[in-house]
Amino acid sequence: MPMSQTIDFIIDGVEVSARPGQTILQAADEAGIYIPRLCAHKDLVPHGSCRICTVLVNGRPQSACTQPVAPGIVVQNDIEKLNNVRRNILDMLFVEGNHYCMFCEKSGNCELQALAYRFGIMAPKFPYQFPARDVDASHPDIYIDRNRCILCARCIRASRDLDGKHVFEFVGRGPEKRVAVNAEARLADTDVDVTDKALSICPVGALMRKRQGYADPIGRRRYDHQPIGSDIEAKRSATG
């Protein structure tokens, strides 16, 4: 495919040039336009489950992480209608699990929390569900805290596609859906390793290395001062 071939389209009024085969999210990232997302990760195949990256493509809702670019499309991203939907989805994730930020080791580096900061969420508008979920601390170096899991499938995809294993998979359906491990029950009985990419790719504190909590002091954590997405937006302010 010739390098010169580009696909031109518009996001939030800005003209963007993309390469064929890119998703709207990838093209927006390169153009310095941040589309909020949780399940999407640059090293993973798109999953399209969290729905936070929902944008309007010629007026129709699509997930930006799965939708390929097309010539001449008009994409709306940073509009109140969608930001309201995103706040609602974030609220849903907060009340669906048990997210105790005050003692979570991921706090400050957590993408769910950072998105809620970015959207200025002070309290979920939905009632907390307080589900009974378990913690698997069987492994000497790693634990799973399912209270914090948001079912984004990052660990599943990373274990399969980056680590060449198959440590994690979803089981159950609907509200009972959860991440299971490739063993009778315990993480300790899988071939997971403390160096697996599947661990560090978890956006929340569900999949953690033991004895590494609170390594960054408050004030020096990833999202303490800069909202999530600032790195992407910096590209645009640098070039524009």
């Binding site: 105790y100 900061y117 309290a123 589900p131 909202p227």
Partner: protein, 181 residues
């Protein structure tokens, strides 16, 4: 003109949020210029004496007494603020919410590893308020007007919010002050 009144309370909390109120340091002198404290552990006034402009609630509702106090605050305050994670989410006390109440009591008074209770009794004096089936966030019991996140909320966030409310300005906290931990 009389100064506006504020009231504070700690329900199922640890008083950490009240510590954070005191953490506004020397600005507490400015605060007492702006307001009078009514019912509050800070001045040890036990019951409301006046209608208050602002009520600050620390902690969630773990028992019937918490509910009574919270409703009392709602009836006496124009604006209620949920202060901190326990008021907003239930916080640490809400960790019991996934465990049946009887199990919680048994663990706390009978079976816990550090329990010394040869009489094997679970305290049950009529003066002790009954526990609720779970710890409720304050906004599930009464209407809450503002939420200040954090464990505890930063003193600057408390200060900025109070000053804005008392001077009729919009509450618009900077990014650095919205923290859930």
């Amino acid at each position: 003109m009389a100064k506006p009144k504020i009231a504070t309370t700690s329900l199922a909390g640890c008083f950490g949020c009240h510590m954070s109120i005191l953490d506004i340091d020397e600005r507490i002198l400015e605060l007492v210029e702006l307001v009078d404290f009514d019912k509050s552990p800070i001045d040890d006034i036990k019951e409301f004496h006046h209608r208050c402009a602002v009520g600050l609630i620390e902690g969630g509702c773990a028992n019937e007494e918490n509910v009574r106090v919270l409703k009392d605050f709602r009836r006496h305050c124009d604006i209620l603020i949920s202060l901190g994670e326990c008021a907003i989410l239930g916080g640490i006390p809400a960790l019991r919410n996934t465990i049946p109440l009887q199990e919680c009591l048994d663990e706390a008074y009978l079976n816990g590893p550090s329990v010394y209770n040869p009489a094997k009794t679970i305290p049950n004096d009529p003066e002790i308020p009954l526990l609720l089936n779970k710890v409720y966030p304050c906004h599930e019991v009464v209407k809450i007007d503002y939420f200040l996140q954090g464990c505890p909320p930063r003193a600057d966030a408390i200060w900025e919010t109070l000053v804005a409310l008392l001077t009729d300005k919009p509450v618009d906290l900077p990014y650095d002050l919205i923290k859930y931990d």
